[in-house]
């Protein structure tokens, strides 16, 4: 058997009530089983929407500069029954079909974005939304 067309998707939204000293990182995975047939990954994409402000917590404090990426790190892992065989890892963004990969038993979509920390003289106000998806086809090899 083969699973046919599959979409895997995960989104994380962080909303804070008040400014904080550290914003937790995003590290999340979503995964599903495959039948070990022929897999072609059609698309990997991600989106990020992020508002962030760094504020002084006291007078006469120089607020640190902060650089925030426009995107998140997204990759897709295809893992095999034979653990000696390294997983195939494909990175986003990708909008053309991958080469066919035979024998994968697990597809895993990983999404990562950085945490942020400032010392007690400053605080961070933030809202962050990240989301990623992968479309793939598993057909009989």
């Amino acid at each position: 058997m083969a699973k046919g067309s599959i979409m895997l998707q995960i989104a994380v939204e962080q909303t804070f009530s008040a400014p904080v000293n550290d914003v937790p990182e995003v590290w999340t995975v979503v995964f599903a089983a495959l039948d070990g047939q022929r897999t072609v990954v059609r698309e990997i994409a991600s989106e990020k929407s992020h508002a962030v402000m760094v504020l002084a917590a006291q007078n006469n404090v120089i607020v640190p500069a902060l650089g925030i990426s426009q995107g998140v790190a997204t990759d897709v892992w295809l893992a095999f029954d034979d653990l000696r065989r390294p997983p195939a890892i494909l990175h986003a963004p990708s909008h053309v079909p991958s080469p066919p990969i035979d024998g994968a038993r697990l597809v895993l979509l990983r999404v990562r974005d950085f945490g942020m920390t400032v010392d007690q003289h400053a605080v961070i106000s933030s809202i962050r939304r990240v989301g990623s998806h992968v479309y793939l086809d598993e057909t009989v090899a």
């Binding site: 979409m7 895997l8 995960i10 995975v29 106000s125 989301g131």
Partner: protein
């Protein structure tokens, strides 16, 4: 703490302090094939202007009753009850947390990014013609 989700849908987790105030809300949306699973790892403390705050996770909602959620392998109510006791919540806060009751995050303090969205369940009800007539 490991958040494990089995099955598709939207999960809302509110992280409360010992007073029962929500400091952080995380909304996790998982799609799609049957048997899909997700994992997320989170810290149960956060730095605030008043110092480090210990947090307890409260499972405020999930997509469907069939969607399974665990915190470090435990039922969320059980985990929340134990964590609330560990960080010194009152009996009322502990009981509410175990029932999935925690306030929505409300912007506090000077300056900040804000968001005020209607809940999608209400929007979907209205869109499908099942909303309350006004």
């Amino acid at each position: 703490m490991e958040i494990a989700i089995r099955g598709e849908g939207e999960v809302v987790i509110r992280f409360i302090d010992r007073q029962g105030q929500t400091l952080l809300q995380e909304r996790l949306v998982v799609s799609d094939p049957p048997g899909v699973q997700a994992r997320r790892y989170v810290s149960l403390s956060i730095g605030t202007v008043r110092g480090r705050a210990e947090l307890a996770p409260v499972l405020a909602s999930r997509g469907t009753p069939r969607q399974r959620v665990t915190f470090d392998g435990l039922d969320p109510a059980r985990f929340a009850r134990g964590r609330c006791k560990a960080i010194g919540c009152s009996a009322t806060v502990t009981r509410d947390a175990a029932r999935g009751v925690a306030p929505a995050p409300k912007p506090r303090g000077t300056g900040g990014a804000t968001v005020g969205e209607p809940t999608m369940a209400d929007v979907l009800r209205t869109g499908s013609g099942r909303g309350t007539a006004r």
